[in-house]
């Protein structure tokens, strides 16, 4: 058995160059159990990932749920024309990008600074404990976290407004005011995710050669200068990769968070592509139109990721795949 396998492998290796592979059916029979293992997962992927990819064709139809995809009328790019000509489109696209960039500014800088400082903490136990505590909010669901946010920011008896009033200010409706809503999105997102964001940087910092610090110290460099001249340059590749990746995900502005926190008062500044697709598609049952909006997003996202991956690879780094 083992000998046969070895022979088969040699045959395959030789055949790769000469084009003289074993017949397919022999390999299929030999690896029948591997295919058996592959099958259930692959079927789930085909059904629930590729099924919807086929379903996007309704973006080019006037989909009628009773007639189905085969019976609905084809309308070409009409849905897209409607979408691009709608005043909603400019609004949701700019909201998506603006909110995303705001969040990126916070979620990009704060974790780096936190990681640098965490790395300087003395005492292994204290360091570990501090890490555990600041990672924690990442695992709390957005539903629970939004419950906390809504309770804290309640204009009547929320903790934040109680404090504001205590110091003589007047209460603020943070989640119902177009001036405050986006900053609240950024702050709450940062609160929940910056700790988790430090993990990758901490791992990168741990890999920095300790002799570099020693040399810098002998030259009289302060902690701050060491961070600036030793640590930051050493982890720069990681920083570059992460910022490029977040730029590729710029159309992901945080659906769950916005969905759970927004309300009609702040639609103008808070409605993003995802929330729009949900409202128009699921609540108003404009399936084809909403699918067109979703397809626009998926297509742009794919182009962005492919572009980013090419750039990353060209710059000599290992790409995403």
């Amino acid at each position: 058995m083992a000998v046969m396998n070895g022979a088969a492998r040699r045959g395959q290796a030789a055949g790769a160059g000469a084009g003289a592979r074993r017949p397919l059916w022999k390999d299929l029979i030999r690896d029948r159990y591997l295919y058996l293992l592959l099958l259930p997962g692959l079927l789930l992927i085909l059904l629930f990932r590729y099924g919807p990819m086929y379903g996007v064709v309704i973006a080019f139809q006037d989909y009628n749920i009773y007639k189905g995809i085969s019976g609905s009328e084809w309308v070409g790019f009409d849905q897209f024309t409607r979408l691009f000509n709608s005043p909603d489109f400019v609004e949701i696209l700019s909201n998506t990008i603006i909110i995303s960039l705001y969040k990126l500014a916070a979620s990009f800088t704060i974790p780096i600074i936190l990681a640098l400082l965490l790395n300087e903490l003395r005492g292994v136990v204290f360091k570990r404990f501090a890490q555990s505590v600041i990672y924690l909010p990442h695992f709390v669901s957005w539903v629970i976290f939004s419950g906390i946010i809504i309770t804290f920011l309640n204009p009547v008896d929320g903790m934040v407004n109680v404090v504001i009033q205590h110091f003589g200010g007047s209460p603020v409706d943070f989640l119902g005011d177009v001036r405050y809503f986006r900053p609240m999105l950024v702050i709450t997102d940062a609160y929940k995710e910056v700790g988790w964001g430090t993990i990758i940087y901490l791992a990168a910092i741990a890999g920095v050669n300790a002799e570099l610090y020693e040399a810098a110290r002998i030259d009289g460099a302060t902690k701050l200068r060491q961070m600036w001249h030793v640590t930051l340059p050493a982890i720069r590749p990681v920083i570059v990769i992460l910022i490029i990746l977040s730029l590729a995900n710029i159309l992901e502005a945080g659906f769950q968070q916005i969905f759970l926190l927004y309300n009609a008062l702040v639609y103008d500044v808070a409605d993003i592509i995802d929330t729009y697709v949900y409202r128009v598609g699921i609540q108003e049952a404009n399936y084809s139109y909403a699918t067109a909006a979703g397809l626009f997003k998926s297509a742009v996202a794919m182009v962005l990721i492919l572009t980013v991956n090419t750039i990353v690879k060209k710059s000599g780094q290992e790409g995403l795949w």
Partner: protein
């Protein structure tokens, strides 16, 4: 290594900074715990809840009598257990098959899975698919669409490739086929990666509410997070739910009940978190190495 005065100062300031930061991170949870055990008539004017206002556990009595919350717990437990089991197991089987270099078509299958990371059909087509399959208001809709993640599969492929071929060869000499090799040799060696991937899948299911928004029209198919969302946004729903005894209803107000519900539903994660934190971090790093 001797520290200069400046370095000592920095060290203290840094330590202090993190103590303050930790307090800020913990405070919301503290606030909720204190709020939930306060006497309801003393919570009306709000406050900081550094200490409870009086002491009462009636809010918790109301939570555990609330049929919606109990039903949500049931739905979430079923979806989390089944989803995690199905997701972890079939990700592992698929990943193992792909990780074997001799598999004909392995490249193609990898590409098929990779492509799902680049492009997705989106919300509406997925919703319509589930509807067409007549899965609305069934557990299938809450479990199956999210089971297989490309990322998890590739993490596992990487792990399986790292298992030395000699082990497989040895088992084959003993007459084992691919199935027995997978179940008796590979799986037992893969506990770390199974635990890590399984944990992330489980947290995903536990925190999921949006599947209920889409696929559960009946309240008795709502996941816990969905029940909670309803309860948070709908003040009166918190205490007017059927099942809560009149005696308890008279003693609680929406605030304490909300706080108690949030505590109860986040408790499972908070309880396992300290023990599993290491795995979570490991998972994040496996992902990032690939990225």
């Amino acid at each position: 290594m001797r520290l200069t005065r400046g370095e000592k100062m920095f060290s203290y300031a840094n330590g202090l900074f993190f103590i303050v930061l930790m307090l800020i991170m913990i405070y919301p949870f503290w606030y909720m715990v204190m709020g939930s055990i306060s006497e309801s008539d003393r919570t009306a004017e709000g406050g900081l809840f550094l200490i409870p206002a009086g002491f009462s556990l009636t809010a918790y009595a109301a939570v555990f009598q609330n049929v919606s919350i109990l039903s949500g717990f049931k739905v979430t437990l079923i979806t989390t257990i089944c989803g995690t089991a199905i997701g972890t197991f079939f990700s592992a089987t698929t990943a193992y098959a792909i990780s074997r270099k001799r598999l004909r078509g392995g490249k193609l299958f990898s590409l098929l899975i990779l492509f799902t990371m680049l492009f997705s059909g989106g919300l509406i087509p997925t919703y319509l698919l589930v509807k067409t399959l007549h899965m609305i208001d069934t557990y299938w809709a809450l479990i199956l669409p999210g089971t297989m993640g490309a990322w998890n599969i590739f993490v596992m492929v990487g792990f399986f490739r790292g298992i030395p071929d000699e082990l497989e060869e040895a088992a084959r000499i003993d007459g084992a086929n691919d199935l027995t090799i997978f179940f008796q040799v590979v799986l037992p060696l893969s506990k770390p990666v199974l635990a890590t991937v399984g944990l992330f899948i489980a947290v995903g299911y536990w925190n999921d509410f949006f599947s209920s928004v889409l696929y559960a029209t009946e309240k008795d198919m709502w996941q816990l997070q969905m029940v909670l969302k309803d309860l948070i946004s709908n003040t009166s729903a918190a205490i007017s739910q059927a099942g809560i005894s009149v005696a308890v209803q008279q003693q609680v107000n929406p605030f304490t009940v909300k706080m108690a519900s949030i505590i109860v539903s986040s408790l499972p994660i908070l309880a396992v978190y300290p023990f599993l934190q290491k795995h979570f971090v490991k998972g994040a790093l496996i992902g990032s190495v690939k990225g």
